[in-house]
C-alpha cells in the first residue's frame, strides 16, 4: 500500500513540476488525484497520454457539487500495461459548465461525454456529436443534477417517512396518473416533433442517391434500422446503418430504451440498499456486480471492513462461476446470431442451469443473487454445496467446455462467417476504451485481476487469455480460453477454501461511511466494471456512478463495422456480448 502511494506521489510530483500553475493535488478530505484547470486540460492530458503512458481512459463522469456551485468532471486513467489509477478532475462553475472534449485524444470518451451531457448538462466543447444518448430529446432538464426533481416525488432520500409508524399503503398509479407525469422542454410539442438529426431514420428505410465522383455513375445509399425490436440485438438496441449495396458506410448505435436512471435511484438509496439494485445491471452476472460495489464501498469504509479469508474465497468462487456461465451464454447466443438456431444456445444454457442451482442454494435466488455485503457475504455455503462445486469444476465443466469446443470451434461455417470480420486493432481497442474479452481478443493482455489485483486474485495461478487478430472469431475463441482459466482458479479456490467467519463485522444495515470518494473496479465477465461513489458523510451516496463495460464497449462498434457487409453486423454485435440492462442503466 505504502509503496504504491510513494510511486503515485512521485508521478504526481513530476506532473506538478511540469505544470506548476495549472495542476493541483486534490486535497479535500477523502479525495485523491489531480485538479486541472479546464483550459489546460487538453495539453495536460496529451502529455499524460504520450509521455507518462496513461493511454487508457476507462471512465469519464461528472459530479454535481450543488452546495459549492460547481460541476466536476472526473477522469479515471490507467496504463494499458497495468498499474494503479490516476484520477484527474476538472472543476467548472455550475452556471456554465463547459469542459473541452477529449474525443480527439481518447475516442473512448465519446459516449461517456454524451452521457454526462445528457444526465448532468455538462457541455463538452469540441465533441462531434453532443446529443442526448440515454434520454430522449423531449426530456426536460438533466436528471442527475441535484436540483432536478421528477414529477412523481416522494422524498430526497430513502427511507420515506410515510412508511412507519403511521403507514397507509397507496398504489403508485393513484398518485402518478398517466399523461400527467411528464414535463416537456419549453416549446416542445410531442405531437408535431420530428427529430431533426434522425428524421431520415424514423421513416424506415430511405434511399439517398449519390453520384460517384470518379465514374459519374449514380448509386443509391440505403439507411437501415436494425432494431430496436430485433432478436439479434439481445434486447432493445438499435443500429442505424447506412449501406451502399451490402457494404456498411456508416453506423450509429442508438440506446437508452431500457433507461431507468439507475444512478439517480442509487443516490436516493442508502449505501446498503444499492446492493440488490446492482443485481439488475447485468442480470446474467449479479455476483460480479455485487463484488464491484462491495469492493468500492469497502475502500471507503477502510481496513476494519476487509472481509475475512473464507469470505474472500467464497467471493472469488462465485465471481468465477459467474464468468463461466456468462461466457457459456455469450458463446451460445453468438451462435444464435450466426443463425444456428438455439441448439448451441441450449447446450450452453444447460451448463448455466447447473451453476444457477448452486446460486439458488447459496444466495436464495438464481439470477438476482444479492449475496455480497460490505465486509463479506450474507450467509455461509450450505452443506453439500462445496462438493457440488467441486464436482462441477473438476469434472463436468472442463468436459463440457471441451465438448463445446469440439462442437463449434472448427465448424467451417462459424469460421467462414467470423474470421477476418469486424477487426479491432490493439491501438483502436485501447483508444476506444474497450475492456474485457474485446480488448484481450485484440492482442492487449490487460486483465484487472493481473494488472491491478483486487481481493485475493494475486494468490491464484492462472494465465491472462489473449488472442491477436481482433476479429469476431478471436472474440469467440477467447471466451473458451477464459472459461478454462476460470476453471483453473476455481479448482485452486475450492481446494484452499478455509473455514472461518464470513463477515468482518456484525450484520448491519446502517454504515457510517466516511466522507470521500472511491473508484472500485473488478474484471467482470464483460470487462472492467467500475463504480465511482462519492460520500458526503450521510447515509446516502452523494454520487453513485456505474462504469458499465457493455456500454463503453459499444463505442468501438462503428469502427468494427465500417466496410463490412450488412449480414456481419449481427455477428459483430454478438461478439461484443452486451446486456441492455447494463448499457442503458
Amino acid at each position: 500500500m505504502n509503496d504504491q502511494t510513494t510511486v503515485m506521489n512521485k508521478n504526481y510530483q513530476k506532473i506538478l513540476e511540469r505544470f506548476p500553475h495549472d495542476v493541483q493535488v486534490d486535497e479535500r478530505e477523502g479525495y485523491s488525484g489531480l485538479l486541472i484547470e479546464a483550459n489546460q486540460l487538453l495539453s495536460i492530458m496529451e502529455t499524460l497520454r504520450d509521455e507518462y503512458e496513461y493511454d487508457f481512459l476507462t471512465s469519464v463522469t461528472g459530479v454535481d457539487y450543488l452546495p459549492d456551485e460547481k460541476m466536476e468532471v472526473v477522469y479515471h486513467l490507467f496504463k494499458s500495461t497495468g498499474g494503479s489509477i490516476l484520477e484527474v478532475k476538472v472543476q467548472v462553475p455550475r452556471s456554465n459548465p463547459v469542459v473541452p472534449s477529449l474525443v480527439g485524444l481518447y475516442p473512448g470518451a465519446s459516449f461517456q461525454e454524451r452521457e454526462a451531457w445528457d444526465l448532468l448538462g455538462i457541455r463538452f466543447e469540441g465533441h462531434p456529436n453532443l446529443t442526448r444518448i440515454l434520454m430522449w430529446e423531449g426530456f426536460a432538464g438533466h436528471p442527475l443534477r441535484k436540483d432536478w426533481i421528477e414529477t412523481f416525488f416522494e422524498g430526497d432520500v430513502k427511507p420515506y417517512e410515510d412508511r412507519w409508524p403511521e403507514g397507509k399503503v397507496s398504489k403508485v398509479e393513484t398518485t402518478n396518473p398517466y399523461g400527467k407525469n411528464i414535463t416537456y422542454p419549453d416549446g416542445f410539442n410531442p405531437e408535431t416533433w420530428i427529430p431533426d438529426s434522425e428524421d431520415l431514420l424514423f421513416q424506415g428505410s430511405t434511399v439517398v442517391k449519390v453520384e460517384q465522383e470518379e465514374t459519374g455513375i449514380e448509386t443509391e445509399q440505403l439507411v437501415v434500422n436494425l432494431g430496436p425490436q430485433h432478436p439479434s440485438t439481445h434486447g432493445v438496441f438499435r443500429m442505424v446503418a447506412t449501406l451502399e449495396g451490402e457494404t456498411v458506410l456508416d453506423l450509429e448505435p442508438v440506446m437508452g430504451y431500457l433507461h431507468r436512471n439507475h444512478e439517480k435511484i442509487g443516490e436516493r438509496n442508502t449505501f446498503s440498499m444499492n446492493m440488490p439494485y446492482t443485481d439488475r445491471l447485468d442480470y446474467f452476472c449479479s455476483m460480479s456486480n455485487n463484488f464491484g460495489y462491495a469492493l468500492t464501498v469497502e475502500k471507503l469504509l477502510g481496513e476494519k471492513y476487509q472481509p475475512p479469508e473464507r469470505a474472500q474465497y467464497i467471493r472469488v468462487i462465485m465471481a468465477e462461476l459467474t464468468r463461466i456461465l456468462n461466457h457459456f451464454m455469450a458463446i451460445g447466443f453468438f451462435l444464435n446470431d450466426l443463425g444456428a438456431y438455439f441448439t448451441p444456445a441450449l447446450y450452453a444454457i444447460k451448463e448455466r442451469e447447473l451453476i444457477l442451482d448452486i446460486f439458488e442454494a447459496v444466495a436464495g435466488s438464481r439470477m438476482m443473487c444479492n449475496y455480497y455485503r460490505f465486509g463479506g457475504v450474507v450467509r455461509d455455503l450450505p452443506g453439500g454445496i462445496e462438493e457440488q462445486i467441486r464436482k462441477l469444476v473438476y469434472d463436468r465443466l472442463p468436459r463440457q467446455t471441451d465438448e463445446m469446443d469440439r462442437y463449434l470451434v472448427e465448424n467451417e461455417i462459424v469460421i467462414g462467417r467470423s474470421q477476418d470480420v469486424g477487426i479491432l486493432t490493439p491501438e483502436q481497442a485501447i483508444a476506444f476504451s474497450a475492456v474485457g474479452p474485446v480488448l484481450r481478443a485484440s492482442g492487449v493482455p490487460y486483465d484487472i485481476r493481473r494488472a491491478d489485483p483486487y481481493s485475493i486474485y494475486d494468490r491464484f495461478d492462472f494465465d491472462v487469455a489473449v488472442r491477436y487478430h481482433g476479429d469476431v472469431y478471436d472474440r469467440f475463441l477467447i471466451r473458451f480460453d477464459e472459461i478454462r482459466q476460470s476453471i483453473r482458479i476455481l479448482q485452486q479456490a475450492i481446494d484452499d477454501l478455509p473455514e472461518g467467519e464470513i463477515l468482518a463485522n456484525k450484520p448491519a444495515y446502517k454504515f457510517r461511511i466516511p466522507k470521500g470518494e472511491s473508484y472500485g473496479r473488478v474484471e467482470g465477465p464483460k470487462g472492467e466494471l467500475g463504480y465511482y461513489v462519492v460520500s458526503d458523510g450521510t447515509d446516502n451516496p452523494w454520487r453513485y456512478h456505474v462504469r458499465a463495460p457493455s456500454f463503453i464497449n459499444l463505442t468501438g462498434l462503428r469502427e468494427m463495422c465500417l466496410g463490412e457487409k450488412v449480414a456481419d453486423l449481427v455477428a459483430i454485435l454478438g461478439s461484443i456480448d452486451i446486456v441492455l440492462g447494463e448499457v442503458d442503466r
Binding site: 440488490p276 435466488s365 465448424n411
Partner: protein, 202 residues
C-alpha cells in the same frame, strides 16, 4: 478436409440425442415424474437433456430460496395467535424499494404505542425479493416465502398483501426452512437459559 468441422459438430449433437434416449431407457419409468428422477437430473453427472417438466414436475427449492415475505406468528396451546412483529419499523427502513407500510397499534385508552402492528402491508408489485427485511429483522418475525406462484388477474387490489394475508404460522416457517428454524430455536433457548441462570444467581 473441408466439412470435417461440421461433421464433428454434428457428431456432438447426435451424441446428445442418443444420450438422452439411452438415459431414458436405462432409468425406465423412474426418470420422469418421480422425486428421485428430478434429483438425479439436477446432479452434475446427468446426461442428455435434463428438462424439468414444470408444472407436473417441480424443482426442489433450496432452503435459502426467497420470494415475497410473510409474517410469522406463534401458535399458543389454545390456538391463540401471537404475532412476533413488534412494529419496530426496521424492515420498512431497510427495504430498498420501500414497499412495506406499517401502522403501529395504539392502546385505545391511553393512546400509547403498542408493540404490535395494527396494519402491515406489502405491495408485492414493488417488492424485489432481496430478502433484506428477513435478514435484518431482530425478532425473526418476517421471513421470505417459498411460494412463488402468485399470478393474479387483478393486481391493483390483490397484490397488496395486508396483515391477514401475510400471517403464517411458525410451523409453516419450520417446514420450509428447517435448518434456519432449528438454529433460531437453539439460539432462543440459549438466551432463555442464560436469563434463567442469571435470575437463579440473584
Amino acid at each position: 478436409m473441408k466439412g470435417f468441422g461440421i461433421l464433428k459438430g454434428l457428431g456432438v449433437t447426435l451424441k446428445h440425442l442418443v444420450d438422452t434416449y439411452v438415459e431414458d431407457i436405462k432409468a425406465g419409468r423412474d426418470r420422469y415424474y418421480t422425486e428421485d428422477g428430478v434429483r438425479q437430473r439436477m446432479t452434475s453427472d446427468t446426461k442428455g437433456i435434463f428438462t424439468i417438466n414444470y408444472p407436473e414436475e417441480r424443482l426442489p427449492l433450496a432452503e435459502a430460496f426467497r420470494y415475497v415475505p410473510f409474517l410469522v406468528y406463534d401458535e399458543g396451546e389454545d390456538g391463540e395467535r401471537s404475532i412476533r412483529c413488534t412494529a419496530c419499523g426496521i424492515c420498512s427502513k431497510v427495504c430498498p424499494s420501500q414497499c412495506i407500510w406499517i401502522e403501529r397499534a395504539e392502546d385505545p385508552e391511553t393512546s400509547k404505542p403498542l408493540k404490535t402492528p395494527a396494519e402491515f402491508a406489502i405491495d408485492i408489485d414493488l417488492c424485489m425479493n432481496c430478502g433484506f427485511c428477513a435478514e435484518y429483522c431482530p425478532f425473526d418475525a418476517i421471513k421470505m416465502d417459498h411460494d412463488f406462484e402468485l399470478a393474479v388477474y387483478d393486481r391493483i387490489d390483490v397484490n397488496i398483501h395486508r396483515k391477514e394475508r401475510l400471517l403464517k404460522p411458525a410451523s409453516y416457517y419450520a417446514s420450509i426452512r428447517p435448518e434456519s428454524y432449528a438454529l433460531e430455536q437453539k439460539a432462543k433457548a440459549e438466551v432463555a437459559a442464560r436469563k434463567a441462570a442469571r435470575r437463579g444467581n440473584r
